[in-house]
Structure formats: structure tokens, C-alpha cells
Symmetry: D2
Subunit: 156 residues, 4 copies
């Protein structure tokens, strides 16, 4: 990404409005920590409703957070009349998701007109301890017209 | 997978106990539809708490369901004293996740002693309509000792 | 893929011409075994020039073959004035690539107007033996205008 | 990766010997630019034998280079009696592979005892120009005993 930096107020408003429209993010308790051009950081608390079989946070919850961070990092580089959809992602889970909260950071590797490629990482954060990497994602995002013309037709 | 087929009662009990221990799955309302050796089908309802910005179900919720299906498909092929962790997955989202419920089907491509490779698909189901593919996953699972010896140490 | 089937002669000609233009495929000794709408099978011989450190065929050579199969499976579903580029892929290597030759089979999971999602598998073939799975791919392909307007500008 | 740094002579020798044993790398004309603990840089020239249909370098050749860089970055973190195999990777192709040569850089995200997670990037290099990103990979590597006990048995 050759030009990270601050967002215009209009782009920031669009991201915040889109974020607020995602009920999944409210359910997860996610919030925006940082918003910049090609750079987004989100957080969510550890929550006993989203556990896996050993009591750690489920990979699906961790994935939801970092997918969202990647999506909005991509959106900040798109034309102002576009919305963003996830085409695909690949995620590695490198340590159990144990911590007080989780922080997902995303950056844009390349911003094309249609396809935007991003990377994200999730760190577990506990007290004053050093954040610990729990997951890494590489995600392909796509600029689409909002809303999709017909809700029952695939948007790609 | 050369030998799909029915499970022993012991393996089925292990999978059902592990499933029941995942609070994420209760939160999503997920249930087991089919359990066989190297083959698992799960379902969850569409739920307004897990929406993305256009009102479709969030990719993170869809991912949680199919990751779980892949994990248990893998577990059915592992030694009986093993548990399963997700090493990584790649998921494509091919249509908006719109439907009354979502069905995730997983099969094992290759069952190694340590690494088990799986594929899964998620279909949206509505009334009597034909199920529609919304996501496809390829996932790498790993057999581990349960529980991890120390909760704060990465299990891989 | 709802409508697999035979290709029109025009589409088959386009695929064969594109295949012939790829020097990589000649270098690998690859050939077309089967061409259908949304379905392509390629083969290449085992070749000592493409080995990894244990003498098996290198993952990069295996990947080149199955990426190509996925790309042409996608191309058969695209509008006739389009060419295909690989956006991304994920590949699992499930057994050493040992055999007399390798056969890559690809099918289309979903054919969108811009994005086509595919899956492919590579089997090792030896004598009259049963083909053995060595790799599995999930790949995202994109329809583009041929040739890219400016060779030095990213095509996405 | 918490402790990048120089390699011991023994580890460097092992990597160089393994590299030299890969005929694929000689065929591609690949060479080692940098070797450190958890960090490897390789290069190969652009070569008309490895072209795709528009004359750019084939994704398979680019993938072979960065997969190799990721594998050796992982190997530098493994116990000294281990070899490395690729479990899986995901790669995004963000720009046409056009240049005089290609440089693949890999780093280790997390070094487990069995599984090592890596990231790599490929840049096209031309004359004195700024290197241009053409591909990004996230790869899962596995420590195995060398050589596999039986060549015809999957090593995982």
C-alpha cells in the first residue's frame, strides 16, 4: 500500500455506518480502535458465549473479527460509491484464542479497482501483557455496488 | 476418503460431547444432522443477531459452522484418544448467505495420522427450494492430545 | 455448476489456443485430457527436472498444473470475449508427488460474471495402479479483457 | 517471530544442501539471496520457458519460488534433525509477473514444534526500478523426519 494515511470524514462516516449495520459485530461486542486509509484495527472482548470445546474462543468468532477488519481496510481504498464483499480468505490459527480481549489489525497489500488484497492478524490481549498472535489471515475483497441489485442473486 | 461409513458408538459419543462443549455452537443454534466416518452435516437457522451490513448472514457465522463440520469430519478418522484443532482453512463466499437456515457438509479428503485434510460446503436452505451453495471451504485439521497440557501454551 | 456439458467448437478453440500460448505448459510437458463446460482434465509426466529435495515432484510444478486446469475450467463458463487470470488459490499437499504422471482435474463450483470459483485435484498415476490423491486446490478466477490494456499495469 | 537473527553454520549448511537437492530450483535458475533464522530471500530470473498466455511469468513458477522461501524460513526454526514439507499454502496474485527477475521473501509468523506458519511475498525487479509486489503467500509447513520412512507412503 503506497499511501496509508488519514481518512476523509466522508469515508470514515461510511465505514462507521456500515460497521453499525452489522448485527454480528454488536453480538460479538466489537468496536473500532483505529481507522486509516488501508489500515483498520478492531477489538472484541473474550465472551463465554463464543467458546470452543476447550474453553478458548472459537475460530469462527476470531475469523469474523479479522474478516471485518480486512473488509473495512479494503473499503477505505475503494471508490466512494462502492461497498465491500469478501470473495475469499485463508486463515491460520497459530495459538489458542485465550485472553481478555482480541485485537484484529488489517492492512491492504494491493488496492485494485475491483479486487483488493488484504492481510490481517489477531492478537490476544491480557492485562498489561504483551499481545500474543493467535491468527493470521490473507483475504480477497471485492468492490460492489450497494446494495446488490437483487437480494436473491449472487453479487459477484 | 476410501472408507466412509457408520461410526462406532464410542466415536459418536465423543463427537457429540465435544459438540455440546462448544458454547459458540449453542449461540449459533447449530445442530448435528448427520455423523459418519469422514462425513458430517450440521445446520443452523438464519438469525438476525448474526447479520452483515446488507442483512445477509455474516461470513464469520457461516465459517464457524463449516469449520466445525470439517473439524468433526476429521475427528471421526482420528485415533480415539485425540482431539481436533483447526490449523488453517481457506473459504470462498460464492453467494449472499440468505435463507431460512444453513447446512454445512464436510468430508475428509485425506486422513493422515497427524494432519487431516477436509472440504466443506455451506448451502442456504429455504422452504422446499433447492439448496443454494453459499460457501466452500478447504481446511487442514490436526490431531492433538486433549486437553492441551498447558492452556496458555500453543497446542501445535 | 448447474450445466456441465460439451463445449462449443469456438470455446474449445479458444482454450486450446490459450493453452498453446503458455510456454510453462510446454516446459512441463502438459497436455489436455478432457475439456468440457466447467470441467477440465490435464496431465503431465513425472520429470526429473522438477524435483524437490526428496526426489518427489515439486509442489510448484503440481500447483502449476492444477492452477491451469482450474483456470480453463473457469474460462469455459465465461463470456466469449474474456480471458482468465488467477486471483488466488489455496492448495493442500496430502501425499508425496510420486508417480509416472500427474493428472489434474478441475470443476467449477460457481460461475459468476466476474469471479468464478473452482476446485481441482491432482492424482499421481502409475502403471495400472489406482490414482492416488496428492493435492487439492480451491481457486478464485477472474474474467478479464484480453490482452490487458497495458502490460505494465496490474490487470485486476 | 520473536528471535530472528543469524544462523549457525550447521543450519545454513543443511538449508544449502537441501536447496541444492531440488532440481526444480536449478531448472528455475533460483538462488539464495539471504538466509537468516526465520527469514529467507530467494531470486530467479524471468525466463521465456515459464510464461503464461500473455507472456508474463506463470503463477506456478512464482509459487514454486515463494513456497521454497517459506519452506526454508520454516526449516531454520526447526530441530536440527528435521526436514520440511509444505502442508498447504494460499497465494494471491496481485499484479502480472513481469520483470527482469523475481525476488521471494519469507518470514516465520509462528514456529511450533510440528507446525510452522510463514508468510512470503514475491516482488518483480527491473533494472533500478522499485520492486513491485506480484504475489503474497501464507503457508503452513511441517517438520518431518528425513527421509520419509517409505517413499510411497504419505509423509503426514
Amino acid at each position: 500500500m503506497s499511501s496509508p494515511g488519514p481518512l476523509t470524514g466522508r469515508v470514515e462516516s461510511r465505514v462507521r455506518a456500515s460497521f453499525a449495520a452489522q448485527t454480528m459485530l454488536a453480538t460479538l461486542g466489537a468496536s473500532i480502535v483505529e481507522l486509516g486509509r488501508g489500515r483498520v484495527v478492531l477489538e472484541m472482548p473474550s465472551d463465554p458465549r463464543f467458546g470452543q470445546q476447550f474453553g478458548y474462543t472459537h475460530a469462527g468468532a476470531v475469523t469474523a473479527l479479522v474478516d471485518t477488519a480486512c473488509g473495512y481496510a479494503a473499503l477505505t481504498t475503494m471508490a466512494e460509491d462502492r461497498e465491500v464483499l469478501t470473495v475469499d480468505f485463508s486463515a491460520n490459527f497459530v495459538a489458542p484464542a485465550a485472553g481478555e480481549r482480541f485485537r484484529a489489525s488489517a492492512t491492504v497489500l494491493r488496492a485494485g479497482r475491483t479486487i483488493v488484497v488484504t492481510r490481517g492478524e489477531v492478537h490476544a490481549v491480557t492485562g498489561d501483557g504483551k499481545p500474543r498472535l493467535v491468527a493470521a489471515m490473507q483475504a480477497t475483497m471485492m468492490a460492489v455496488a450497494p446494495p446488490p441489485a437483487k437480494p436473491d442473486v449472487p453479487a459477484t
